[in-house]
Amino acid sequence: MENKVPPKIEHKTQEKLEVNCEKQRDNYSLAAAFLPLLAVVLWLGIMLINALVIDKSENEWEATVAKKKKVITDIYSATMLVYGELVTKTNYLAGVIEKDIQPEEVFILVETLFPTDPGFSVTGFGRDKDGSFNVTVSAPTFLKFTKIARRFSSYEKIRDVQVRGVSLTKSNTVDGTINFFFISADLNSATKSKSTSN
C-alpha cells in the first residue's frame, strides 16, 4: 500500500509525539523524586505513633504491672511465707500420714468381723514395716480356718488379704496368719465413729 501522507506532515507528527513523550518522562521523573519524601513522611508518621501512642501505653502498662508486683511484695509476702511453709510441710508429711493407722483398728476389725463367740482364738496381732497388719488365728479345723480367712478377704475395708504359715499344731488346732492392708480412707471414718461411740 502506498503512503499518501506528505513527508512534511509526517515529520511534524513525529515531533509532536516526541514532545509528548518527553513531557510524560518529565512527569515520571518528578513523581519519582517524591518517592523518598513519601518514605520519609511515612517513617516520621510511624515514629510519631510510636512516641505518642505506643510508648505512652507501654509505660502505663509497665507502671501498672510494677505497682501490682510491689503490692504482692509489700502486702502478701508474709502471707505467702506462711502458705509456703504449710504447702511444703504438708506435702512432706503426706507419705508419713498415710502410714498412720492405729493398732486399735486391727482389734476393731476382728470385733467387727466376728462380733459373737467366734469359735476360734486370736493368738497374735502385728504390723510389719511395709504397713501391712496381720492377725494370727488358732482354729479347731482347716474348714473353720478357711471360713475365717474368707471373711477377711470379703471385708471391703481391707485389701491384699494373704494367708501365711498355716499349720496343724500338736494340740490339734490349725494355726495361721492372715496378712492384709487397711484401706486408709475408710479407716479414718471407722475410727472416728468408733471413737464417738466410745
Partner: protein, 254 residues
C-alpha cells in the same frame, strides 16, 4: 519553522548529541536515585521503626496478660490472707507434732513409759487384766523418713522408739489409745503381739516412730517457702488428718 528546527540549525551536531545524552542520563538517573533513596529509607528507616512498633505492641499485650495474671494472683493471695490465722494454727500443730529438734523425741520415750502405768483414758476396756510391764525401751537411730531426695535443705527424719511389753490385751488397747489421744504424732512401724497361753498374758515387741523436720545449713526459709506458688495446694489429707485428730478435738475441748 519550529523552534526545534531553528535550534538544530544553530547548534553544532556534536553539542546536540551531548545535550541529548545528558538529558537521557538525567531522565534515567533521577528516578533510579529516587528509587534507591526510597528503598534505603524504607529498609533502614520505616521497616525497623515498624518492627519496633509491632514489638512494642507485643510487649503491651504481654504486659496486659501479666497484669491479668497478677490480678488473679492478688485475688488468690487475698483469699489466702483471709485465712492466714487458720493456716498458722495448722503450721503450729505441724511444728508441735513433727518438731524440728530432738527434745520432743526424748520426751516421747518418757511419755511412753508414763502411759504404761495409766489406767484412765477415753477408751475403756476390760481392765481386770494383768497390768502392763515394759522393758528394753530404747530410742533408735535417726534415719530419713522418705526416700525422696530433698533439694531445698529441708527433710523429714524418723526416730524409732522400741520396747517390749507384757500384759493384758485390754491394757494394751488402753495404752495405745492414750498415746494416740495425746499431742504426739507417731506411727506404729512394727508390732508383734502374741498370746502366751501358759502365763495368760500378751507379749509384744513394738516400734513406734516419731518424725522430725531437719533443716540443713543450706536451708533458707524465705527462699524455700517464698518460692511456693499461691496455686500450689497444701496436701488435703494431711490437713484433714490434723484437723480431725488435733485441731477439732482441741476446739471441741475433747
Amino acid at each position: 519553522m519550529s523552534n526545534i528546527d531553528s535550534a538544530l540549525k544553530e547548534a553544532p551536531p556534536s553539542d546536540i548529541m551531548s545535550n541529548k545524552l545528558m538529558n537521557e542520563i538525567l531522565y534515567y538517573i533521577t528516578p533510579i536515585i529516587s528509587l534507591v533513596a526510597f528503598l534505603l529509607v524504607i529498609i533502614f528507616g520505616v521497616i525497623p521503626t515498624f518492627n519496633t512498633l509491632i514489638n512494642k505492641l507485643g510487649t503491651i499485650e504481654e504486659l496486659k496478660a501479666e497484669d491479668t495474671m497478677l490480678k488473679q494472683r492478688i485475688t488468690k493471695m487475698e483469699e489466702i490472707k483471709s485465712r492466714v490465722a487458720d493456716l498458722q494454727n495448722v503450721i503450729a500443730k505441724i511444728n508441735t507434732i513433727v518438731p524440728e529438734g530432738k527434745t520432743e523425741i526424748v520426751k516421747f520415750a518418757q511419755r511412753i513409759r508414763e502411759e504404761v502405768n495409766t489406767n484412765m483414758g477415753r477408751f475403756t476396756f476390760n481392765l481386770d487384766e494383768p497390768a502392763i510391764t515394759m522393758d528394753n525401751i530404747k530410742t533408735g537411730e535417726l534415719t530419713l523418713a522418705t526416700s525422696e531426695k530433698t533439694t531445698n535443705g529441708l527433710k523429714v527424719n524418723q526416730v524409732p522408739t522400741e520396747f517390749t511389753i507384757t500384759g493384758g490385751l485390754g491394757r494394751f488397747r488402753q495404752f495405745f489409745s492414750n498415746l494416740y489421744d495425746g499431742d504426739d504424732f507417731f506411727v506404729v512401724e512394727k508390732m508383734a503381739l502374741s498370746f502366751d497361753s501358759s502365763s495368760r498374758k500378751w507379749n509384744g515387741s513394738i516400734s513406734l516412730v516419731k518424725y522430725q523436720f531437719n533443716k540443713e545449713s543450706s536451708f533458707n526459709a524465705a527462699s524455700v517457702y517464698g518460692a511456693v506458688s499461691e496455686n500450689s495446694i497444701a496436701n488435703q489429707k494431711v490437713i484433714n488428718f490434723l484437723t480431725l485428730k488435733f485441731l477439732d478435738n482441741k476446739l471441741n475441748g475433747n
